[in-house]
Subunit: 210 residues, 4 copies
DNA sequence: TATGAATGAGACTTCATTCAT
DNA sequence: AATGAATGAAGTCTCATTCAT
């Protein structure tokens, strides 16, 4: 497919080549998923021959996993850590949600590809899927801690349920935006999401008020 | 065992063959997505040769679209329509949510495959994706009508936002269950989801109470 | 490919069905040759299912042969037999050539498909090819007789060479028109062809004139 | 026999592989035409797996086009350019015709395959067909120039008609030989062809002589 | 007189991967 | 650090043909 007619040259530069391959892969895999991502397509997009991809990555699975890892790091950098204690719980929760929403708009690859991998069930689970699920489990715990801090009187299983609900809602809203298009105001939806959860938590934390 | 009338026909039963093909496809496509579904795998699972599949369906795209359509109908039948006016808005909303949750547990193929298709972006959009998005748009409007009926004082755009939020949350919770496993109590999560939305709607509908 | 969705009915009418199949086949085979003519394509063009084609014709080979035979008869009818003794040899020869040219423009299928078959060399020779070559051999002899009649003093092998030359030239000019398009004036070219042959024959018949 | 240096390499010799593929293809396509040429057959004949063929050629169309191009070059080399000014126009024309005839006997692939492609009309025109027709158009103009040089008083459209007639006659005679077999003396027929055209041109060039 | 359904073989093409250089 | 060339397996789809009805 690449054929013998291609005659590109480049100074050997391992790091840059690796980046180019990952850039190409994230774009394709984010649109087509695991099976839809062919080495030939990556090769065509990054300009390096397929055999060079195998010099940098053991196999396709390794490549996809590397993409997941790198796009996670990219996304992490896009999440600005909020000022530690900025006012009321509602304000803090809303700000965090807006933060996450903005980061997902800026760096959607991680979640996009991750969700595609997560939904698939193949005989031998891709390493990228495992990585994604682990990262997301870590995130779950981090969020649960924050919730527990903000609402100390909540029982552990309630915190867990609310956290699950928070993450699932974020996923759903993200998918909605991916499917519907850029016109969706993800920040506003995430703020609404945060407010609803906050109110529920507040009510659950202080049942006496009723 | 099946008796002597089973005369090894093997010949000519179009309707049954079509069903067998669709059964096999829904199982594979629901796990592996569009690209991961190979005609050979479908053939192996349903027992008919690949060429017979092409007698019943124009091409792979047509097959996947047919699967989406049939699994949607299956799912629709699984959603029991609730008693028309059963008590308070909260009760009605909660019951509906539980209903949908139960239907998704019983017939998850439609949403599962649909979401996989929805997340993919391929050069030529599969017809199944289009069908899924259309069906879901219809559902969105149906839900919006219900919300508007239950909370007549809500502005139209608020109803729309809440509906979007409701659907997205449902998607996210469904994905959570698909990824995490059968141990997730989808009905409980959907009831929580319904309650949060209801409370938000109630508050927005009567801002004076503040 | 035709699929179960096709629901056409027709009063059973063997003769008409046969004609429709042949009509469709001549069109496709005349454009695509033996290998390029698929039963499915014929079926699509004539509206009858593939299995019906096999009711009328033993196999593909039989179908193509039937097409050759029928298109030959059609062509024969298109060649108006010229008035027996119309003037000088040049006039007669020119008129005959113009006749043939006109018939080839009106009914090109026979020669078109025939030449395609003739050029191909397949392990088991199609019956249609054999038929074509036989018909053309007969034509060769008929023409040779005419030449011998018009120029009685020519040696037999000279007559044969001239006849070969006449037929080959006709083939070449026909191909030229098929390739170049309808703008080519085949009649004029055939008349030129006839004149050149006539002059050559006349000179050979009377070498004394030199 | 070939000596011990033949170390069963089997590895990496792009140029030679390409030649082997083209050799195999020209043989098959020259006998069976476009549709009759299967990649599997080429693979079997050249010893390389089908996938290797696709490394050297984008697709079947590309392969056939390459065959046309190469066989044209081969044929061009087989046409010995005649001594510039060898005697009378008749002698020169006859010599050129004999030359071409000999080249067509020695390297018939170009015209053989080209004519097969030219006669076919498929929805998407093969590139090889385009190439063939272009080459042949160039040849037409080259021949027209020669005719115009030899008979300067001929009108341009007459030169064009005679050239068309010359080429078409050559095609027809070539086809005759291909169909009839090696016993046909193509050189003699081409010389006859040349003489007839020469005489016609001479007469047209000097109408006063009449 | 037809045809719906089926089928094994084979079409073109792409796949992930390897390996000598 | 890279790549040209190769390859077996698998991909989607079409082929000519059959057969029970």
């Amino acid at each position: 497919m690449t054929g013998p007619q291609t005659t590109r040259r480049k100074r050997a530069n391992g790091v840059e080549s690796r980046q180019r391959i990952l850039d190409a892969t994230v774009e394709i895999a984010g649109e087509r998923g695991y099976d839809g991502t062919s080495i030939a397509a990556v090769s065509a997009k990054c300009g390096l021959p397929a055999s060079s991809i195998y010099w940098h990555f053991k196999d396709k699975d390794d490549l996809i996993a590397a993409v997941i890892e790198r796009s996670f790091e990219t996304w992490l950098r896009a999440v600005e850590l909020p000022g530690e204690d900025a006012g009321t719980p509602l304000e803090r929760v809303t700000m965090m949600a807006a933060n996450v929403a903005r980061s997902l708009v800026a760096a959607p690859d991680f979640l996009r590809l991750g969700l595609m991998l997560a939904l698939e069930r193949r005989p031998t689970e891709p390493r990228g899927r495992t990585v994604f699920l682990q990262v997301r489990e870590t995130a779950h715990q981090r969020i649960a801690e924050i919730v527990a801090t903000l609402f100390p009187s909540l029982a552990e299983d309630v915190v867990d349920t609310l956290t699950t609900y928070a993450v699932a809602g974020a996923d759903g809203l993200f998918v909605h935006r991916e499917v519907t298009g850029d016109s969706v105001d993800l920040v506003a939806l995430f703020e609404l999401h945060a407010r609803l959860i906050h109110d529920a938590a507040a009510r659950m934390a202080a049942p006496a008020e009723r």
